[in-house]
Protein backbone atom coordinates (compact mmCIF):
# COMPACT_ATOMS: atom_id res chain seq x y z
CA UNK A 1 0.00 0.00 0.00
CA UNK A 2 2.70 2.45 0.98
CA UNK A 3 4.94 1.44 -1.88
CA UNK A 4 2.04 2.19 -4.19
CA UNK A 5 1.50 5.52 -2.54
CA UNK A 6 5.09 6.52 -3.00
CA UNK A 7 4.69 6.14 -6.74
CA UNK A 8 1.25 7.70 -6.73
CA UNK A 9 0.86 10.95 -8.54
CA UNK A 10 3.92 10.24 -10.67
CA UNK A 11 3.98 9.31 -14.31
CA UNK A 12 0.69 7.48 -14.00
CA UNK A 13 -1.25 10.72 -14.38
CA UNK A 14 1.30 12.64 -16.42
CA UNK A 15 -0.85 12.30 -19.51
CA UNK A 16 -4.14 11.26 -17.96
CA UNK A 17 -6.90 13.77 -17.40
CA UNK A 18 -6.94 17.44 -18.26
CA UNK A 19 -8.17 19.04 -15.03
CA UNK A 20 -5.96 21.31 -12.94
CA UNK A 21 -4.72 18.31 -10.91
CA UNK A 22 -3.18 16.61 -13.95
CA UNK A 23 0.58 17.02 -14.35
CA UNK A 24 1.72 18.52 -17.61
CA UNK A 25 5.12 19.15 -19.17
CA UNK A 26 6.22 22.78 -19.44
CA UNK A 27 9.18 24.17 -21.35
CA UNK A 28 11.14 27.11 -19.95
CA UNK A 29 11.24 29.52 -22.88
CA UNK A 30 13.04 32.47 -21.25
CA UNK A 31 14.65 33.54 -17.97
CA UNK A 32 14.96 37.16 -16.82
CA UNK A 33 16.45 38.65 -13.65
CA UNK A 34 14.03 40.60 -11.43
CA UNK A 35 16.20 41.37 -8.41
CA UNK A 36 19.47 40.01 -7.03
CA UNK A 37 17.54 37.04 -5.64
CA UNK A 38 14.53 36.74 -7.91
CA UNK A 39 14.21 35.67 -11.52
CA UNK A 40 11.27 35.27 -13.85
CA UNK A 41 10.86 31.94 -15.62
CA UNK A 42 8.58 32.06 -18.64
CA UNK A 43 6.89 28.75 -19.37
CA UNK A 44 5.13 27.29 -22.36
CA UNK A 45 2.64 24.97 -20.71
CA UNK A 46 -0.66 23.38 -21.80
CA UNK A 47 -2.62 24.71 -18.84
CA UNK A 48 -6.06 26.29 -18.73
CA UNK A 49 -6.27 30.10 -18.56
CA UNK A 50 -5.62 31.20 -14.99
CA UNK A 51 -7.29 33.83 -12.85
CA UNK A 52 -5.11 36.68 -11.56
CA UNK A 53 -3.69 35.64 -8.18
CA UNK A 54 -3.60 31.86 -8.75
CA UNK A 55 -0.59 29.56 -8.44
CA UNK A 56 0.77 26.40 -10.04
CA UNK A 57 2.50 23.38 -8.56
CA UNK A 58 5.95 22.70 -9.99
CA UNK A 59 7.58 19.26 -9.93
CA UNK A 60 11.22 18.36 -10.53
CA UNK A 61 12.28 14.74 -11.01
CA UNK A 62 15.71 13.23 -10.31
CA UNK A 63 17.10 10.41 -12.49
CA UNK A 64 16.16 7.80 -9.85
CA UNK A 65 12.53 8.98 -9.77
CA UNK A 66 12.76 11.13 -6.62
CA UNK A 67 10.53 14.18 -6.98
CA UNK A 68 10.31 17.54 -5.26
CA UNK A 69 7.34 19.87 -5.55
CA UNK A 70 6.62 23.44 -4.64
CA UNK A 71 3.84 25.91 -5.30
CA UNK A 72 4.65 29.16 -7.10
CA UNK A 73 2.40 32.13 -7.74
CA UNK A 74 1.82 33.22 -11.31
CA UNK A 75 3.02 36.74 -12.20
CA UNK A 76 1.65 36.95 -15.74
CA UNK A 77 -1.77 38.31 -16.56
CA UNK A 78 -4.45 35.81 -17.56
CA UNK A 79 -4.12 34.95 -21.23
CA UNK A 80 -0.47 36.07 -21.56
CA UNK A 81 1.68 34.39 -24.21
CA UNK A 82 3.83 32.70 -21.58
CA UNK A 83 3.16 31.68 -17.98
CA UNK A 84 5.54 33.74 -15.83
CA UNK A 85 6.71 32.41 -12.47
CA UNK A 86 8.95 34.73 -10.45
CA UNK A 87 11.02 32.54 -8.16
CA UNK A 88 13.10 33.78 -5.26
CA UNK A 89 16.32 32.01 -4.31
CA UNK A 90 15.84 30.67 -0.80
CA UNK A 91 18.71 29.71 1.50
CA UNK A 92 18.64 25.91 1.51
CA UNK A 93 15.98 25.91 -1.17
CA UNK A 94 15.90 22.50 -2.84
CA UNK A 95 13.74 23.57 -5.76
CA UNK A 96 14.63 27.28 -5.95
CA UNK A 97 18.33 26.30 -6.07
CA UNK A 98 17.69 24.25 -9.20
CA UNK A 99 15.90 27.19 -10.81
CA UNK A 100 18.65 29.65 -9.95
CA UNK A 101 21.73 27.49 -10.50
CA UNK A 102 20.76 24.98 -13.18
CA UNK A 103 17.70 25.98 -15.19
CA UNK A 104 18.15 27.23 -18.75
CA UNK A 105 15.84 28.04 -21.60
CA UNK A 106 14.76 24.77 -23.20
CA UNK A 107 14.59 22.79 -19.93
CA UNK A 108 11.37 20.96 -19.17
CA UNK A 109 9.64 20.70 -15.80
CA UNK A 110 6.36 19.28 -14.50
CA UNK A 111 3.53 21.71 -13.75
CA UNK A 112 -0.10 21.47 -12.78
CA UNK A 113 -2.75 24.07 -12.25
CA UNK A 114 -3.87 26.75 -12.24
CA UNK A 115 -4.74 26.28 -8.56
CA UNK A 116 -6.35 28.34 -5.82
CA UNK A 117 -9.84 29.77 -5.98
CA UNK A 118 -9.86 32.37 -3.23
CA UNK A 119 -6.87 34.67 -3.67
CA UNK A 120 -8.07 35.78 -7.09
CA UNK A 121 -9.34 38.96 -8.70
CA UNK A 122 -11.62 39.41 -11.66
CA UNK A 123 -12.71 42.61 -13.37
CA UNK A 124 -16.35 41.96 -12.40
CA UNK A 125 -15.60 42.49 -8.71
CA UNK A 126 -16.97 45.78 -7.38
CA UNK A 127 -15.01 48.45 -5.57
CA UNK A 128 -11.41 49.56 -5.26
CA UNK A 129 -8.69 46.97 -4.75
CA UNK A 130 -5.91 47.20 -2.19
CA UNK A 131 -2.82 45.07 -2.78
CA UNK A 132 -0.32 44.73 0.06
CA UNK A 133 2.90 42.80 -0.52
CA UNK A 134 5.81 41.79 1.65
CA UNK A 135 8.95 40.86 -0.30
CA UNK A 136 8.35 38.20 -2.93
CA UNK A 137 4.67 38.25 -1.99
CA UNK A 138 4.32 40.86 -4.71
CA UNK A 139 4.23 38.18 -7.42
CA UNK A 140 0.51 37.27 -7.45
CA UNK A 141 -0.30 40.97 -6.92
CA UNK A 142 1.63 41.81 -10.09
CA UNK A 143 -0.65 39.38 -11.91
CA UNK A 144 -3.65 41.21 -10.43
CA UNK A 145 -2.20 44.64 -11.33
CA UNK A 146 -1.56 43.49 -14.89
CA UNK A 147 -5.04 42.00 -15.18
CA UNK A 148 -6.46 45.26 -13.82
CA UNK A 149 -4.53 47.25 -16.45
CA UNK A 150 -5.69 44.95 -19.23
CA UNK A 151 -9.28 45.21 -18.02
CA UNK A 152 -9.06 48.98 -18.60
CA UNK A 153 -8.35 50.07 -15.02
CA UNK A 154 -12.00 49.55 -14.02
CA UNK A 155 -11.76 50.48 -10.32
CA UNK A 156 -9.28 52.47 -8.21
CA UNK A 157 -6.32 50.33 -7.17
CA UNK A 158 -3.42 50.65 -4.79
CA UNK A 159 -0.32 48.52 -4.32
CA UNK A 160 1.77 48.89 -1.18
CA UNK A 161 5.04 46.95 -1.35
CA UNK A 162 7.33 46.45 1.61
CA UNK A 163 10.79 45.01 0.89
CA UNK A 164 14.21 45.04 2.47
CA UNK A 165 15.78 47.48 0.06
CA UNK A 166 15.07 49.67 -2.94
CA UNK A 167 16.70 47.10 -5.20
CA UNK A 168 14.64 44.24 -3.84
CA UNK A 169 11.35 45.92 -4.79
CA UNK A 170 10.63 43.47 -7.60
CA UNK A 171 8.64 44.82 -10.58
CA UNK A 172 9.26 48.36 -9.30
CA UNK A 173 9.68 50.04 -12.67
CA UNK A 174 6.68 48.29 -14.22
CA UNK A 175 4.47 49.20 -11.26
CA UNK A 176 5.68 52.80 -11.33
CA UNK A 177 4.86 52.80 -15.02
CA UNK A 178 1.31 51.60 -14.35
CA UNK A 179 0.89 54.37 -11.76
CA UNK A 180 2.19 56.96 -14.24
CA UNK A 181 -0.15 55.79 -16.97
CA UNK A 182 -3.23 55.43 -14.78
CA UNK A 183 -4.31 58.15 -12.39
CA UNK A 184 -6.41 55.65 -10.42
CA UNK A 185 -3.45 53.36 -9.61
CA UNK A 186 -1.32 54.24 -6.58
CA UNK A 187 2.04 52.60 -5.94
CA UNK A 188 3.49 53.00 -2.43
CA UNK A 189 6.83 51.57 -1.36
CA UNK A 190 8.59 51.08 1.92
CA UNK A 191 12.00 49.59 2.63
CA UNK A 192 12.90 48.08 5.98
CA UNK A 193 16.70 47.69 5.85
CA UNK A 194 17.79 50.48 3.59
CA UNK A 195 17.64 54.20 4.23
CA UNK A 196 17.40 54.91 0.50
CA UNK A 197 15.24 57.97 0.17
CA UNK A 198 13.78 56.90 -3.18
CA UNK A 199 11.16 54.75 -1.45
CA UNK A 200 8.11 56.47 0.03
CA UNK A 201 9.02 55.17 3.50
CA UNK A 202 11.88 53.47 5.31
CA UNK A 203 10.18 51.52 8.08
CA UNK A 204 8.04 48.47 8.65
CA UNK A 205 4.42 48.68 7.65
CA UNK A 206 2.36 50.38 10.36
CA UNK A 207 -0.95 52.05 11.15
CA UNK A 208 0.03 55.41 9.64
CA UNK A 209 1.16 53.78 6.39
CA UNK A 210 -2.12 51.87 6.05
CA UNK A 211 -4.03 55.08 6.78
CA UNK A 212 -2.05 56.90 4.07
CA UNK A 213 -2.75 54.10 1.61
CA UNK A 214 -6.49 53.97 2.32
CA UNK A 215 -6.72 57.78 2.12
CA UNK A 216 -5.55 57.58 -1.50
CA UNK A 217 -8.72 55.69 -2.38
CA UNK A 218 -11.89 57.70 -2.70
CA UNK A 219 -14.03 54.77 -1.62
CA UNK A 220 -14.02 51.80 0.75
CA UNK A 221 -12.02 48.92 -0.76
CA UNK A 222 -14.06 46.13 -2.30
CA UNK A 223 -11.32 43.60 -1.69
CA UNK A 224 -7.88 43.69 -0.06
CA UNK A 225 -5.20 41.18 -1.03
CA UNK A 226 -2.28 40.63 1.32
CA UNK A 227 0.61 38.35 0.38
CA UNK A 228 4.00 37.65 1.90
CA UNK A 229 5.66 35.81 4.76
CA UNK A 230 3.29 34.85 7.52
CA UNK A 231 4.32 37.45 10.09
CA UNK A 232 4.03 40.24 7.56
CA UNK A 233 0.64 39.05 6.33
CA UNK A 234 -0.87 38.77 9.79
CA UNK A 235 0.47 42.21 10.77
CA UNK A 236 -0.77 43.87 7.57
CA UNK A 237 -4.16 42.14 7.71
CA UNK A 238 -4.68 43.14 11.34
CA UNK A 239 -3.71 46.75 10.50
CA UNK A 240 -6.37 46.75 7.79
CA UNK A 241 -8.93 45.39 10.28
CA UNK A 242 -7.89 48.07 12.81
CA UNK A 243 -8.39 50.69 10.07
CA UNK A 244 -12.01 49.61 9.77
CA UNK A 245 -11.80 47.24 6.80
CA UNK A 246 -14.30 44.37 7.06
CA UNK A 247 -12.33 41.14 7.75
CA UNK A 248 -14.31 39.20 5.15
CA UNK A 249 -13.07 41.51 2.39
CA UNK A 250 -9.41 40.76 3.24
CA UNK A 251 -7.88 37.82 1.40
CA UNK A 252 -4.50 36.49 2.45
CA UNK A 253 -1.84 34.30 0.89
CA UNK A 254 1.04 33.35 3.15
CA UNK A 255 4.44 32.04 2.25
CA UNK A 256 5.52 29.72 5.02
CA UNK A 257 8.40 27.36 5.62
Amino acid sequence: MKAMNERGGSDANETGGSGPAAWQTAVISRIEPRTARMRSYYLQAPLARHAAGQHVDVRLTAPDGYQARRSYSIASAPGADALELAIEMLDDGEVSAWFHEVAQAGDTIGVRGPLGGHFVWSAEQPGPIVLVAGGSGVVPLVSIARAWREAGAPVPALLLHSARSWDSLAYREELRGIATAHGNFSYLTTVTRDANAAADHARRIDRAMIAEALARLADVPGTCYVCGANGFVETAAQLLVAAGIAPRTIRTERYGG
Binding site: L60, T61, S71, D107, G110, G117, Q238, G256
Partner: protein, 202 residues
Protein backbone atom coordinates in the same frame (compact mmCIF):
# COMPACT_ATOMS: atom_id res chain seq x y z
CA UNK B 1 11.27 11.82 -17.51
CA UNK B 2 13.81 13.41 -15.22
CA UNK B 3 14.61 17.11 -14.93
CA UNK B 4 18.04 17.97 -16.37
CA UNK B 5 20.57 18.56 -13.62
CA UNK B 6 18.19 17.94 -10.73
CA UNK B 7 19.41 15.57 -8.06
CA UNK B 8 17.34 16.82 -5.13
CA UNK B 9 17.75 16.54 -1.44
CA UNK B 10 16.25 13.28 -0.21
CA UNK B 11 14.89 12.91 3.27
CA UNK B 12 16.66 10.23 5.31
CA UNK B 13 15.02 6.79 5.39
CA UNK B 14 13.26 7.40 8.71
CA UNK B 15 11.76 10.69 7.48
CA UNK B 16 10.90 9.20 4.08
CA UNK B 17 8.71 6.55 5.72
CA UNK B 18 6.75 9.26 7.52
CA UNK B 19 6.25 11.51 4.48
CA UNK B 20 3.13 11.01 2.37
CA UNK B 21 3.73 11.28 -1.39
CA UNK B 22 4.68 14.75 -2.60
CA UNK B 23 5.39 16.09 0.90
CA UNK B 24 8.59 17.47 2.41
CA UNK B 25 9.51 18.01 6.05
CA UNK B 26 9.58 21.49 7.57
CA UNK B 27 10.77 22.59 11.00
CA UNK B 28 8.66 25.70 10.73
CA UNK B 29 4.96 25.94 11.37
CA UNK B 30 3.70 27.73 8.26
CA UNK B 31 0.23 29.22 8.27
CA UNK B 32 -2.45 28.80 5.66
CA UNK B 33 -5.64 30.78 6.09
CA UNK B 34 -7.91 32.76 3.87
CA UNK B 35 -7.91 36.00 5.86
CA UNK B 36 -6.80 37.68 9.07
CA UNK B 37 -7.03 35.81 12.37
CA UNK B 38 -10.36 36.83 13.95
CA UNK B 39 -10.36 38.47 17.38
CA UNK B 40 -12.19 36.03 19.66
CA UNK B 41 -13.34 37.02 23.15
CA UNK B 42 -13.23 33.97 25.42
CA UNK B 43 -16.17 35.38 27.40
CA UNK B 44 -18.28 35.18 24.23
CA UNK B 45 -16.76 31.93 22.90
CA UNK B 46 -19.11 28.97 22.52
CA UNK B 47 -18.70 25.58 20.94
CA UNK B 48 -21.91 24.07 19.58
CA UNK B 49 -22.89 20.72 18.09
CA UNK B 50 -25.77 21.00 15.64
CA UNK B 51 -27.85 18.71 13.50
CA UNK B 52 -28.63 20.98 10.57
CA UNK B 53 -29.88 24.19 12.20
CA UNK B 54 -30.89 22.47 15.46
CA UNK B 55 -28.46 22.80 18.40
CA UNK B 56 -27.65 19.50 20.14
CA UNK B 57 -25.23 20.70 22.80
CA UNK B 58 -23.21 23.81 23.54
CA UNK B 59 -20.35 24.73 25.86
CA UNK B 60 -18.96 28.05 27.08
CA UNK B 61 -15.15 28.36 27.29
CA UNK B 62 -15.31 27.66 31.02
CA UNK B 63 -17.52 24.60 30.55
CA UNK B 64 -15.27 23.38 27.76
CA UNK B 65 -12.28 23.41 30.13
CA UNK B 66 -14.06 20.91 32.37
CA UNK B 67 -14.32 18.27 29.61
CA UNK B 68 -11.90 15.31 29.59
CA UNK B 69 -8.61 16.22 27.94
CA UNK B 70 -6.43 14.15 25.63
CA UNK B 71 -2.89 14.66 24.36
CA UNK B 72 -1.90 13.57 20.85
CA UNK B 73 1.60 13.48 19.42
CA UNK B 74 2.35 12.92 15.76
CA UNK B 75 2.82 14.29 12.26
CA UNK B 76 0.70 16.80 10.35
CA UNK B 77 0.52 17.29 6.60
CA UNK B 78 -0.49 20.45 4.71
CA UNK B 79 -1.78 20.26 1.14
CA UNK B 80 0.78 22.94 0.21
CA UNK B 81 3.33 20.07 0.58
CA UNK B 82 4.88 20.67 4.00
CA UNK B 83 4.74 18.08 6.75
CA UNK B 84 5.71 18.71 10.34
CA UNK B 85 6.80 15.84 12.58
CA UNK B 86 6.19 15.19 16.26
CA UNK B 87 3.70 17.93 16.98
CA UNK B 88 1.96 17.75 20.36
CA UNK B 89 -1.65 18.80 20.77
CA UNK B 90 -4.02 18.81 23.69
CA UNK B 91 -7.76 19.15 23.63
CA UNK B 92 -11.07 17.32 23.79
CA UNK B 93 -11.66 14.39 21.44
CA UNK B 94 -14.80 14.36 19.34
CA UNK B 95 -15.72 11.07 21.07
CA UNK B 96 -15.62 12.85 24.43
CA UNK B 97 -17.68 15.76 23.08
CA UNK B 98 -20.40 13.37 21.90
CA UNK B 99 -20.25 11.48 25.20
CA UNK B 100 -20.57 14.72 27.16
CA UNK B 101 -23.56 15.64 25.01
CA UNK B 102 -25.03 12.18 25.62
CA UNK B 103 -25.57 11.51 21.93
CA UNK B 104 -24.28 9.43 19.06
CA UNK B 105 -23.41 11.13 15.79
CA UNK B 106 -26.78 11.65 14.08
CA UNK B 107 -25.44 11.55 10.49
CA UNK B 108 -22.37 10.31 8.61
CA UNK B 109 -21.13 13.77 7.56
CA UNK B 110 -20.53 17.17 9.08
CA UNK B 111 -19.21 20.64 8.46
CA UNK B 112 -16.67 22.04 10.90
CA UNK B 113 -17.58 25.72 11.26
CA UNK B 114 -15.29 28.59 12.23
CA UNK B 115 -15.65 32.08 13.66
CA UNK B 116 -14.30 33.58 10.42
CA UNK B 117 -17.10 31.89 8.42
CA UNK B 118 -14.69 29.25 7.10
CA UNK B 119 -16.06 25.74 6.98
CA UNK B 120 -14.79 22.36 5.87
CA UNK B 121 -16.55 19.04 5.46
CA UNK B 122 -15.30 15.87 7.13
CA UNK B 123 -16.82 12.38 7.16
CA UNK B 124 -17.85 11.64 10.76
CA UNK B 125 -15.96 8.31 10.63
CA UNK B 126 -12.74 10.33 10.31
CA UNK B 127 -13.45 12.11 13.59
CA UNK B 128 -14.31 9.17 15.87
CA UNK B 129 -12.26 6.52 17.71
CA UNK B 130 -9.73 9.03 18.96
CA UNK B 131 -8.79 10.28 15.48
CA UNK B 132 -9.75 13.91 16.02
CA UNK B 133 -10.05 16.55 18.72
CA UNK B 134 -10.91 20.16 19.34
CA UNK B 135 -7.43 21.33 20.31
CA UNK B 136 -6.69 24.22 22.62
CA UNK B 137 -2.96 23.67 23.20
CA UNK B 138 0.03 23.16 20.91
CA UNK B 139 3.39 21.96 22.24
CA UNK B 140 2.20 22.60 25.78
CA UNK B 141 1.08 26.22 25.34
CA UNK B 142 -2.33 27.75 24.60
CA UNK B 143 -2.88 27.74 20.85
CA UNK B 144 -1.82 31.06 19.26
CA UNK B 145 -4.45 32.97 17.31
CA UNK B 146 -2.57 32.63 14.02
CA UNK B 147 -2.60 28.85 14.40
CA UNK B 148 -6.30 28.79 15.14
CA UNK B 149 -6.51 29.67 18.82
CA UNK B 150 -8.30 29.62 21.12
CA UNK B 151 -9.51 26.32 19.64
CA UNK B 152 -9.19 24.50 16.33
CA UNK B 153 -10.21 21.14 14.99
CA UNK B 154 -7.35 18.62 14.71
CA UNK B 155 -7.76 15.77 12.23
CA UNK B 156 -4.10 14.88 11.76
CA UNK B 157 -4.59 11.96 9.38
CA UNK B 158 -6.18 14.26 6.77
CA UNK B 159 -4.60 17.27 5.01
CA UNK B 160 -4.48 20.12 7.45
CA UNK B 161 -7.07 22.37 5.81
CA UNK B 162 -9.60 19.93 7.33
CA UNK B 163 -8.34 20.95 10.78
CA UNK B 164 -10.45 24.10 10.82
CA UNK B 165 -8.98 27.01 12.77
CA UNK B 166 -11.00 29.20 15.15
CA UNK B 167 -13.64 26.49 15.38
CA UNK B 168 -17.03 27.30 16.82
CA UNK B 169 -18.91 24.10 16.17
CA UNK B 170 -19.66 20.94 14.24
CA UNK B 171 -22.80 20.83 12.10
CA UNK B 172 -23.98 17.34 11.20
CA UNK B 173 -25.36 17.15 7.66
CA UNK B 174 -27.42 14.54 5.86
CA UNK B 175 -25.05 14.47 2.89
CA UNK B 176 -21.41 15.36 2.27
CA UNK B 177 -21.69 19.14 1.69
CA UNK B 178 -18.59 20.87 0.32
CA UNK B 179 -16.94 23.44 2.57
CA UNK B 180 -14.90 26.53 1.70
CA UNK B 181 -11.86 25.01 -0.02
CA UNK B 182 -13.82 22.02 -1.27
CA UNK B 183 -16.04 24.44 -3.23
CA UNK B 184 -12.82 25.88 -4.66
CA UNK B 185 -11.36 22.72 -6.12
CA UNK B 186 -9.97 20.84 -3.14
CA UNK B 187 -10.75 17.23 -2.32
CA UNK B 188 -13.84 16.20 -0.35
CA UNK B 189 -11.86 13.91 1.99
CA UNK B 190 -8.17 14.85 1.72
CA UNK B 191 -6.22 11.73 2.71
CA UNK B 192 -2.51 12.62 2.32
CA UNK B 193 -1.45 8.98 1.92
CA UNK B 194 -3.74 8.69 -1.10
CA UNK B 195 -2.71 12.17 -2.18
CA UNK B 196 -6.27 13.47 -2.32
CA UNK B 197 -5.35 17.11 -2.87
CA UNK B 198 -7.70 18.30 -5.57
CA UNK B 199 -11.24 17.51 -6.60
CA UNK B 200 -10.26 15.32 -9.52
CA UNK B 201 -7.65 13.36 -7.59
CA UNK B 202 -8.88 9.82 -7.01
Amino acid sequence: MSTRGFTGRRPDAAAARRLPPGQHETDDFPVLSLGPAPAIDLAAWRFTLRHGARPLASWSWEQFQALPRTTWRGDIHCVTTWSKFDTVWEGVTVDDLLAAAGIAAPTAFLLAQSWDEYDTNVPVADLLDGRAMVATHFNGAPLAAEHGGPARLLVPHLYFWKSAKWIKGLKFTERDEAGFWELRGYHMRGDPWREQRYLDDE
